[in-house]
Subunit: 200 residues, 2 copies
DNA sequence: TTCATAACTGTAATTATATACAGTATTTAT
DNA sequence: ATAAATACTGTATATAATTACAGTTATGAA
């Protein structure tokens, strides 16, 4: 139940922004004013639709009683990626953790739980969560999440051209990975924009 | 203007918790009900006092229009610690970053910006922000923030007894620091519970 | 074609909420 | 010693806000 219409997405994003910026959710009137509705009931209808689709909850009789549902307020943590489908597919999501705007310079689309020790020399350890942005264009020198023939890996992008991509592990006991994007199926899932480690 | 009374602190923490748990601030009535006030005006008075002391803001005529002020909603980032005074003193606070409940297993009292490379072997690099909890009792094996004769350092606590404390750097080119707490002024400022790195 | 969904206008009523004013008692600074 | 701040009770009211009901128009699916 998550296929929001264009309009519903606009409304939803507005509510999200208001909570983020003001610290509390908007009223029906405020929503209506923002979108030019002449009746608060237009906002009411939208809220009901958004509730029905499961992206938010409404506390009855409560002013500003709008809360974003877990699924929509948190950032997914990707554990092991199953071969095939998209990285953000339901079955890859280990849990979600609250969004924290302002903590990092870039937006975070998901966290990836690090496996292995191939990046220890730049301080990325096993079980660290690396914050990934899907939309920053990858560039040499960046730490990227790449998918090579359905296998997902985190490496430094050392070289990129039409015929050759070099992915460098940051651990002297590993060797560079060289890929020919014309032969192999290479997809960049995103750029690493941050790191989170929990000393439990 | 930050010396809250005991009661004011209770009220303030309740409001903070409500925002965190519900997603929106409480009303005067809800505050009153929680604390057993028989008049919503008791809550109103408290809110005015808290506003006057600068820890929150009130939007006039707005239901649930309570917002925590920057100073009280963020977690301070400590850069260089000036000798002498307390680590959380105003002059040490470089900036504050939004609170992120639920991201780490432990509470965070402040972030410390890491200087030097003495902890690289456990993946703590220069300019990383380490999340510090002041109240967890320090124990061997933990990474701690220690102050030795007014100098602040981050190390692994290797040994602790009445007569000897050993602080171990996690970098083979550094040597252990041995302190006699009876002779030297040794204070543990907190335990490292997490790490945050921003790939700007 | 007909029904459901989407995206609204318009009106109205109940209730939720902020907030002022008038007090009282206690504690804390000056 | 005295004023100011703290921590409330009690009452009252304007207005902020939710939310139901009755419509209209457009669109896409069955």
């Amino acid at each position: 139940m998550k296929n929001l219409t264009k309009r519903q997405t606009e409304i939803f994003n507005y509510i999200k922004d208001e909570i983020e910026n003001n610290g509390y959710p908007p009223t029906r009137s405020e929503i209506s004013k923002t979108f030019g509705f002449k009746s608060p009931n237009a906002a009411e209808d939208h809220l009901k639709a958004l509730k029905k689709k499961g992206v938010l909850d409404l506390a009855a009789g409560t002013s500003r009683g709008i809360t974003l549902s877990n699924q929509s307020s948190g950032i997914p943590v990707i554990g092991l990626v199953s071969a095939g489908g998209p990285i953000l597919a339901e079955e890859n999501i280990e849990k979600t953790i609250p969004n924290n705007p302002g903590i990092l310079s870039h937006g975070i689309d998901f966290y990836l739980k690090v496996k292995g020790d191939s990046m220890v020399d730049v301080g990325i350890f096993e079980n660290d969560l690396i914050a990934i942005n899907k939309n920053i264009p990858v560039k040499t020198g960046s730490i990227v999440v790449a998918r090579i023939n359905d296998e997902v890996t985190v490496k430094t992008l050392a070289k990129i051209s039409d015929s050759q991509v070099i992915l460098r592990p940051e651990n002297s006991s590993y060797s560079n990975i060289e890929v020919n994007p014309k032969k192999d199926n290479l997809i960049f899932e995103g750029t690493c924009v941050g790191l989170l480690r929990d000393f439990a």
